[in-house]
Structure formats: structure tokens, C-alpha cells
């Protein structure tokens, strides 16, 4: 299989879906003429024109609300938030409107909007440009939340998200953009289902359930744990945060008896807390040691690379936590 970057995979998914369905259009800041701050939408304006790739003013609330309006009559807007932190600027339109509209109208209207953009730390952008919003989105019913880690999954999940009749938050990660991986050839019908986890590394001692960039941190941690401590980790890439594919996770925990959930959004009230709680509610008999979660420390994300590294739940912390779990 050929290899592409994560950015290329997303760009291809957008291009293919726009070519397939004329109701698909892109709307956001600097996405057209500039090609997107991270160049994710480059060349799409040239190919599809100004009626399909709309450069907006810096008005997140308005263009998010416009996406809803257009979606009610069958358009399929893909909204780019330059940083997913700006979710909070458009929060009314996202959580009060887009997530609830299908329900509040008793199912009369569908809102097939995709909200995509990059989140996460690692590039020293500080408190308002490094947050991970997966747990926040997952808190609200009515909106699907996907956070793929590989080019293969990103392309397949974005194509699925655009075709889904539900609103979908498609969360990219700034550390993933230039990573490379296998991807099917352009224009191939490649769809990855929403709500299906994927075991990225098989193992027998501990299950690490994670997603987005933390997947790579978990895989590196698993490597270290295997080589230096003889601990075999199974790494489950959740890929979708809402709905959570607990079935795949429980299958893994049935083998390992240990569960560690890892993500970059806050540990407090986060996706990991949810997964661990569900493990105790739904499958406590599988656990041979207390299930654990790792997430962002409860502070705003600092700029200094030294301080930022301190708050991110990356490889070293994963290794340390697994070792603690193994001692029990």
C-alpha cells in the first residue's frame, strides 16, 4: 500500500467527497485562497471554485450557524475550525444548536455537518491553541466524535463522517499532520465505520485504550515496556470517542485483565474516566487490577516546552503508570 501524510489523507478525503456529492462544501477561515493554516485544504479552491470552498471572516459563531442552516436543506457543510479550541467561541451553535436540532425538532430535520480541525499540544501554542476537546464534545448527546490517528483511518473516517446524517466532530491533531502511514489509492471507496475501535498492537498483559496522537505515545510506551520490562501491552485505538466501542475494549481486557485509558484531554471528567467507569459497571469481572486513566493535568496548557511536557500524558507517564498497575 502507498504511504501518505495525515494531511494528504484528509485533503484527499475532502476532494473525493466534494467530487462525489455536490452538496458537500467547505467553510472556514483561510481555507480557500491560502489553503488552510495547516494546508489541509490546499488546491481545493482551484479545483472546486469559490462556491464550494468558502473563506469566511473570523466569525466562528456565524459560520457555524450557517452550516446548520444549510444542512437543514440537504447541504453537507464541512466546517474547519482553525484550532479546535475555537469550539468554545462557537459553543452555542455547536452544543445548543447543531447537537440538539434533530432531537428538538422531533426528528424533522437532520444536521449533517462535519466540524473538523486540529487540537492538542506538543507545539508550544499555549493555553488557547493546544486544548483537546474530545471529552467536551463527547459530553453532549447528538454529535458523533471521531479522532483518528493514522492516515488510513483519517481518510476513511472523514469520508464516512461527511456521508453521515448526524453532526460529526472530526478531531485532528497538530502532531499528526506530518506523520506518514499507509493509505489506499486515491478515489478508492475507502470507508472506516464510526464507532469501531481497532487493535493497533496485540498484547497479553495490559490493555491501553487510546486515540489520536496518544496512540503513537502508547505504541512507543508499549515498545519500551516490552523491551525493558517484559510487559506485553495491547494497544486499542478507539478511533471514535462517541460512541465508544466498549465491546472491542472488553474483548481485549478479557485477555489482559488490566485497562489503562489514555488521552490528551483533561483526565478529570474525561473520556478515560468514562471508559473506566463503564468497565466497572459493565465488565468488572474482567479486571484483575484497578482500571486507570491518564489525561492532561488539571492546569491550563503552558507554553514553555519544559512545562508543556510536564502536563502532557505522553510516553514516560504511560510507562510509569503501566508499571504501577503491574506491581499490583
Amino acid at each position: 500500500m502507498r504511504r501518505t501524510t495525515y494531511i494528504q489523507a484528509i485533503n484527499e478525503a475532502l476532494r473525493e467527497e466534494m467530487a462525489r456529492d455536490e452538496n458537500v462544501f467547505l467553510i472556514g477561515e483561510d481555507i480557500g485562497h491560502y489553503g488552510g493554516l495547516f494546508r489541509v485544504t490546499r488546491n481545493l479552491l482551484d479545483e472546486f471554485g469559490e462556491k464550494r470552498v468558502l473563506d469566511t471572516p473570523i466569525s466562528e459563531q456565524a459560520f457555524m450557524g450557517m452550516a446548520l442552516g444549510a444542512a437543514t436543506v440537504g447541504m453537507r457543510p464541512v466546517v474547519e475550525l482553525m484550532y479546535m479550541d475555537f469550539t468554545l467561541v462557537a459553543a452555542d451553535q455547536i452544543f445548543n444548536q447543531i447537537a440538539k436540532y434533530h432531537y428538538m425538532t422531533g426528528g424533522l430535520l437532520k444536521i449533517p455537518v462535519v466540524i473538523r480541525g486540529q487540537q492538542g499540544g506538543g507545539k508550544h501554542y499555549g493555553s488557547q491553541h493546544s486544548q483537546s476537546v474530545d471529552s467536551l464534545y463527547a459530553h453532549f448527546p447528538g454529535i458523533r466524535v471521531v479522532a483518528p490517528a493514522t492516515p488510513y483511518d483519517a481518510k476513511g473516517l472523514l469520508k464516512t463522517a461527511i456521508r453521515d446524517d448526524n453532526p460529526v466532530a472530526f478531531l485532528e491533531h497538530k502532531m499528526l499532520y506530518f506523520t506518514r502511514g499507509e493509505a489506499p489509492p486515491p478515489d478508492e471507496e475507502h470507508l472506516v465505520p464510526i464507532g469501531k475501535a481497532d487493535v493497533k498492537r496485540a498484547g497479553s498483559d495490559v490493555t491501553i485504550a487510546t486515540f489520536s496522537y496518544c496512540l503513537y505515545q502508547a505504541l512507543e510506551a508499549a515498545e519500551t515496556l516490552e523491551e525493558q520490562h517484559g510487559i506485553s501491552c495491547e494497544v486499542v485505538d478507539l478511533r471514535t470517542v462517541e460512541p465508544l466501542d466498549t465491546e472491542t475494549v472488553w474483548e481485549s481486557v478479557a485477555k489482559t485483565g488490566r485497562l489503562l485509558a489514555v488521552h490528551e484531554s483533561y483526565a478529570n471528567c474525561g473520556v478515560g474516566a468514562e471508559l473506566v467507569a463503564r468497565a466497572y459497571e459493565e465488565a468488572p469481572y474482567l479486571l484483575r487490577a484497578p482500571a486507570r486513566r491518564l489525561g492532561m493535568a488539571p492546569v491550563s496548557i503552558p507554553v514553555s516546552r519544559v512545562l508543556e511536557a510536564e502536563v502532557l500524558p505522553w510516553k514516560e507517564e504511560i510507562v510509569a503508570t503501566v508499571l504501577e498497575m503491574e506491581r499490583r
Binding site: P57, S59, G65, M66, M75, M104, T105, G106
Partner: protein
């Protein structure tokens, strides 16, 4: 809306008028303030430039029927709320009817409307069934949204009614999105969005003004200026006297009109729609109107004197319509027949709603996702 005589920060008993400490004090403040609220109905500005053709008597009769249905449904809903049949926040549009009826009659099938939570009148004006509407407000299974949306979320896609909204001004970008869809698809449909004067101070309103004007979207911004943002008179909150000056700053065409006269509203919306359809972009219409009932069911209405409301009763949409009909030679008896028919229709609608079963508990979990 021209509070020139009094300054908003009038001092009473050494305290700011904005923060009365007791009910008695509040009353003093209110009566002091009320004199400053102009209750004049007929505005000026571009209304003078607006050509208002006389509508056919048949159309006026239909509009009267519709406006009366709205009025009677609202009264029935207030009565039901008093009986405890309706919970939550319910905002009636008594006094606002002409804005909805005049506009709906000026637009075509295929056009879209979104509106604020004070939206029952738009629902009925755009063809929604009063029985299902009342059932929805009561939370019954025959409600148009099966009891999940309620009073603040009137919706009927088949009639182009794409949703009322519980958040002030949130529906405005939705209409811009509908207009954008028309624009992108090369259709000649237009969207109209209704909001109150209070919505002018939400950021998303200004964001949408800018984008709609910049992109020349086929959109009509219709402000039902009843001069109160919920319980606060607009002069207390607005930095300028004439709110149509806000959209003007975005290069938009504006009209300030008499929102109590269906013919004026019809003419203004027709003109705005014509501009929108030929690609000339959005228009802002400020319909000066008055809310004759409280902001919501249960509103104590301590912020305005009874005399102000009484004064407005003399020039409210139904009175204006009856005068027009009489002037056209429609006799009292014919009007009385309509009154009786509409009254009966709304009574039937209330009966339908009251007899509608409560939704099945399983309904709670449907429609979260498609």
C-alpha cells in the same frame, strides 16, 4: 423608541434606577421611566419611501382570519398555562401578529423562515396546524415535534418553517445558512429571519450582518421591535436610538416600518424579497410593534404602566385590520362570522391537544441520532 426626554441613569432616592432594591422602589422607578418610552407607533425613516399598495380585500380577509387565529391561540395557551397545563417558558406574540402574517403572505412557497422563541405567530402564519402546535406546547404526543421541542421550537419544514430558537439571535445565522444554500445552488428562494430588538446586542447578529451583506445573500433580517428586551426597555441597553443604524454600518439596505399594519409589512417584505431574489443582497426591516401580553407567561409586567399598554391597544394589528376591512365596506356581520369560525377552530384545536395522549416514555430516547 426615542427616549430623548429622560436619561436612563435617572437617580431616584439616591440609588440608580437600574437596580431597585424593593418592589415598592421598583414601582417608583418604573413609573418614572415609563414616561420616557415613546409609545408612538408610526415611525419615520424609509417608510415614507415605501410604496404601500392596497392589498385585495380577499387577501386582507385571509390575513385577518390568520391574525385572529394567532391571537386566540395565544390567549388559549395563556389560559392553559394559568391552569398549569403548560410548564417552562412560553412567550406569546399578542400584538405582533401583523409582522408574521404580512411577511408570510409576501413570500412564496419554497422560501424559508427562522425565528426567535416568540414564534407561535410565525408558525401559524407559515401554515402550521394550531391543534398540533398547542399539543406541542403542552408536551403531548401529537405535537409537531412529539413534545420534544415545545413553545420555543416551532418547526415545520414542509411549510418552510425551519425553526424557532430558545437562544436569542441563534436562529439568525441559520437563516443565513438557508440563504447560502439557495445562493450556492443557484435557486431563487429567499430566507427571512425574525428576532426582537434585544437580539441586536448579540455578537452573532453582527457577524451575520457582515457575512450576509458581504456575500449578498438572499436574506431578510426582520426585527420585531417591541421596545422591550425581555423586561428591560431598549433605551436602557442600546447605545444608539435607532437600531436600524447598526445594519446600515454593514452597508445594508434598511427600512423602519409600522409593524402593526399588515399592508405595510407586506409591502416592505415584498420589496426586500425582490431585492434578495435578483442578487442585490440582504435587507434589514425594523417593524415597530408592541407586545400586549407579558414577555412570558407569568410575567409580572412591573416594568411598564397599564396606561402604556392601553394606549397601544388602540393601534394593534387586529384593530388596524378591522378598520381596513370596514373602510373597504366589509360589514360587521361578515367580520363576526369570521370571528365565530376562528374561535370555534381554536376551541377545536385546544380540545385536540388536550385529548392528545402523553408521549410514550420510549420516545425520550428517539431522535438523539439519525
Amino acid at each position: 423608541m426615542k427616549p430623548v426626554e429622560n436619561e436612563p441613569n435617572v437617580e431616584i432616592s439616591g440609588k440608580s434606577a437600574a437596580a431597585p432594591n424593593s418592589e415598592a422602589e421598583a414601582e417608583t422607578v418604573e413609573s418614572a421611566v415609563s414616561a420616557s418610552i415613546s409609545t408612538e407607533v408610526l415611525p419615520s425613516d424609509s417608510a415614507t419611501e415605501l410604496d404601500v399598495p392596497a392589498l385585495p380585500t380577499e387577501m386582507l380577509l385571509e390575513m385577518y382570519r390568520k391574525a385572529l387565529a394567532i391571537r386566540l391561540m395565544e390567549r388559549a395557551l395563556l389560559a392553559a398555562a394559568e391552569e398549569g397545563q403548560i410548564g417552562g417558558a412560553m412567550h406569546t406574540a399578542i400584538g405582533h401578529e401583523a409582522n408574521a402574517v404580512g411577511a408570510a403572505n409576501a413570500l412564496r412557497k419554497g422560501d424559508y423562515v427562522t425565528c426567535t422563541y416568540r414564534g407561535h405567530h410565525h408558525g401559524l402564519a407559515w401554515g402550521m396546524d394550531p391543534g398540533r402546535a398547542i399539543a406541542e406546547v403542552m408536551g403531548r404526543s401529537d405535537g409537531f415535534a412529539k413534545g420534544k421541542g415545545g413553545s420555543m421550537h416551532f418547526v415545520s419544514p414542509e411549510n418552510g418553517m425551519m425553526g424557532a430558537n430558545g437562544i436569542v439571535a441563534a436562529q439568525v445565522p441559520h437563516a443565513a445558512g438557508l440563504a447560502l444554500a439557495s445562493h450556492l445552488r443557484g435557486e431563487d428562494t429567499v430566507a427571512i429571519t425574525f428576532f426582537g430588538d434585544g437580539a441586536l446586542f448579540q455578537g452573532v447578529m453582527h457577524e451575520t450582518f457582515n457575512m450576509a451583506a458581504k456575500w449578498k445573500l438572499p436574506l431578510i433580517f426582520y426585527c420585531e421591535n417591541n421596545r422591550y428586551s425581555e423586561m428591560t426597555p431598549i433605551w436602557r441597553t442600546s447605545s444608539i436610538e435607532d437600531i436600524f443604524l447598526f445594519p446600515r454600518a454593514y452597508g445594508m439596505e434598511t427600512m423602519q416600518i409600522d409593524g402593526n399594519d399588515v399592508e405595510v409589512v407586506h409591502a416592505a417584505v415584498s420589496k426586500a424579497a425582490e431585492r434578495a431574489r435578483c442578487g442585490a443582497g440582504p435587507t434589514f426591516i425594523e417593524g415597530i410593534t408592541y407586545r400586549l401580553a407579558g414577555h412570558m407567561a407569568g410575567d409580572l409586567e412591573t416594568y411598564r404602566p397599564a396606561e402604556e399598554v392601553e394606549k397601544q391597544e388602540a393601534y394593534e394589528p387586529l384593530t388596524v385590520l378591522r378598520q381596513k376591512l370596514t373602510a373597504r365596506g366589509v360589514d360587521e356581520a361578515s367580520i363576526a362570522v369570521i370571528d365565530e369560525e376562528v374561535d370555534e377552530m381554536i376551541e377545536d384545536a385546544v380540545d385536540f391537544a388536550e385529548e392528545s395522549p402523553w408521549p410514550d416514555a420510549a420516545e425520550t430516547y428517539r431522535d438523539v441520532y439519525v
